[in-house]
Symmetry: C4
Subunit: 195 residues, 4 copies
C-alpha cells in the first residue's frame, strides 16, 4: 500500500491549515493606522503558528521519507496528528484577539502539547510497522528534542497562571529548537543508501 | 484513463472538508472559561465529523486502490459522494450550535445516510466497470458493515423524535464499527498479488 | 515542460471552489424547520453550481489528457479559466440568497458565459500548441456543445429582464447537455492508441 | 530528497490563496445594482492580486523545474515566500474595501515588496545549493526584472503619501512586466538538454 495518497492528503491539510489561519486576521473597516493596530497581536501569533505548522510539515516530510510501509494504524495516527493541528487556527485566533491573555495562552500551549504527543505516537507507530530494522528508529536516536518539547510546553502552560509572558517565551523557544529540520533522519538515510 | 487525478482531486476535497469544519468553531470574544464553554458541543460534533471524514478517506483510499479503470460514471459517482460529504461542515455546525437538538441531529443523520448511499453507489459502479472478475467485488464480500450502517442511521434519525440522545449514540456506534479500515480489500489485494 | 503541476494546481483550485461554495450556506441560529427554510434556494443554487464545477473538472480532466505540451500561454489560459470559476461561489451565494431575483440570476449567467469562453480559449491555445496534427482538435470535432452553450447562456441572461425562471431553466438545461463527459476525446484517444 | 512534496505543498498553498481571496468579496444583501456597486474596487484589487499570485505560481513552477536538489534551507526559503503570499488576501481586501486609500495601498505594496524579496532569497538559496554549475544561475542571468521590481514597489509605496493612484499604476505596471513567464529559464533548460 503506497504512501503517495497519505502524503498528498496530509500536504493538502497542512496547506489549508497554514492558509486559513490568516482568515482570523479580519480585514479592518477603517483605513487608518489605528484601525490595524489592534491586529498586531493577531499577526504575531499568526507568525508563531505559521512557523509551527512549517516545522511540523518539514519534519513530517522527513519522517514519511523514512517510512517504507503504510498500514491502517499509520493512517489513523496521521489523522490524529492532523486533528490537533487543525485546532491551531482556532487557538491562534483566540490567543491573538485576547492579547496573549492567560487562559487562551494556556489553550494554545495545550494544542501544541497534544500535537507533539500525536507526532510522537505517529513516529512510534511507523517504527513498530518497520520492525526491528527500522530506519526511522535509527534516525530518531535519543530524540532529545521530542522528549524536551512536551516538558517545555507544560512549563509554558503552568506559567500562564503566574507570569503570562513566560508562556509566549517558552513557545517561541521550542519553535527555535525545532527550526532546524531533522538532519538526523537525512544523515541516516544517506548512510543507508551508501551501504 | 488514469485514476491519478481522481485521487488528487478527491484528496483535495477531503482535506478541505475536514479542515473547514473547524471554521464553524468561531473564536469567542471573551478570554474566560465561560466564553469557550458554549463551544463544547460544537467541539464534540467536530470530533465526530472529523472521525467520519477520516473513515471515508481511508476507505476511499482502499477502494480506489482496488479500482483499475476510471470511466465517466466513476467520476460522477465520486462527485456525488463528495457532494454529500461537502454538507458535513454545515450539519456539524448546526447540530453543535443547537446542542444536539432533535431536528439538527436528524439532518446530521440524513447527511450520514446519503453519504453512505453515495459510497455504496460508487462501489457498485466500480464493480460494474471491472466486470465479472472484479477484485473489488471479491474484496467487499458480504459487506455487512455497508448494509448495517444505513439501517442504524435510519434508527438514529427516527429516534430524534422521541429520545434525541439515542441518535448521537447511534452515530458514534456506527463510527466505531467503521473505525477499523477495510482490511478485507487489503487481504484480497494481497492474495491477487501472490497468485 | 510537464503538465503534472498544472493538473495538481488546477485540481487544488477546483477542489477549493467546489468546497467553499458550501460556506455561503450559513449555519442558521434556530433549531426549527423555519430556521432552515430560507436556505432552500441557497441549497438549490449550490447543487447547480456543484454540478457545473463537476462538469468543468471532468472535461478539464479529459482535455488535459489530450494535451501533450504545456507552454506559458497554456498556463495563463488555464489561470484565466480558473479566475472565472473562482467567482462561482460569489454569484451562487448572491443568486441563492436573493431567491433567484433577476439581476443576481443575470450575473450568475454572466459568470457561466465567461467561464465557457475561457474554456474555449484554453482549448484553442492547446490546439495551437499541438500544431496541425492536434489530437485535441480531432477529438473536439464540430464542438456543437461548446458553440451552443454561450448562445443559451445569452438567452438565459436576456430572459432575466422578462421571465426570470426561464434563466434558471436554461442554466439547468445547459448543465444537462454537458453532464455526459466528453466521450469524443476518449474515443479519439483510443483510436490514436490503437494506430 | 525529492522535490515532489515541496511542489505539491506549494501548489496547495497557491491554490488556496488564489481562491480564498474571493471570500473577501462578501455576498451583498440586496439584489440591485446599487448593492454590488461598492464591491467594484474589491473586485478590481482581486483581479490584480489574482494576476500577481498567477505570476508567482508560473515563475515558481519554472524555478523549481530548474531546481535539482532540495535542502532544509530550500524548504524554509519556500515557506518564507508562502508566508508573505498568504498575506495577499488580507491586504487585497483592506485596499479594496477602502477604495484604494493611501495607507492600505502602501501596505499592499509592502506585501508585494516582501514577497519579491522572499522570491529572490529562494532563488539565491537554490543557486547556492546547486553550486558553481547552477542551471538556475545561468537561466536567471542579469535578472533585471527581479532587480527593477523592488525599486518600483518602493516608488509605489512612497507615492501613496502624495498621489495615491500612482501606487496602483506602479503595481499594475510591475504585473505587466512579469506577465510573460520566465522564458530565460525555459531557454537555458532546453540548451542543457540539447548538450
Amino acid at each position: 500500500m503506497g504512501k503517495g495518497r497519505l502524503e498528498a492528503f496530509s500536504d493538502g491539510v497542512f496547506a489549508i491549515i497554514i492558509t486559513i489561519m490568516v482568515l482570523e486576521m479580519k480585514v479592518p473597516h477603517g483605513e487608518t493606522l489605528d484601525a490595524v493596530k489592534p491586529l498586531l497581536p493577531v499577526f504575531l501569533s499568526y507568525i508563531l503558528s505559521f512557523v509551527y505548522v512549517g516545522i511540523y510539515w518539514t519534519n513530517h516530510h522527513h519522517m514519511l521519507h523514512a517510512c517504507t510501509r503504510v498500514s491502517g494504524a499509520v493512517l489513523w495516527a496521521n489523522l490524529h496528528l492532523l486533528f490537533w493541528l487543525s485546532l491551531f487556527p482556532f487557538v491562534t485566533g483566540w490567543m491573538g484577539e485576547n492579547h496573549f491573555a492567560p487562559l487562551p495562552s494556556a489553550f494554545y500551549g495545550l494544542a501544541l502539547l497534544m500535537a507533539a504527543c500525536a507526532y510522537w505516537i505517529l513516529q512510534q507507530v511507523i517504527i513498530a510497522v518497520q520492525g526491528p530494522q527500522s530506519i526511522l528508529k535509527a534516525a530518531v536516536g535519543a530524540d532529545w528534542k521530542g522528549k524536551l518539547s512536551p516538558v517545555l510546553y507544560l512549563v509554558g502552560i503552568a506559567s500562564t497562571i503566574f507570569v503570562p509572558w513566560i508562556a509566549q517565551a517558552t513557545y517561541v523557544a521550542v519553535a527555535l529548537i525545532w527550526l532546524i529540520p531533522d538532519r538526523r533522519i537525512e544523515r541516516v538515510l544517506q548512510q543507508v543508501q551508501r551501504e
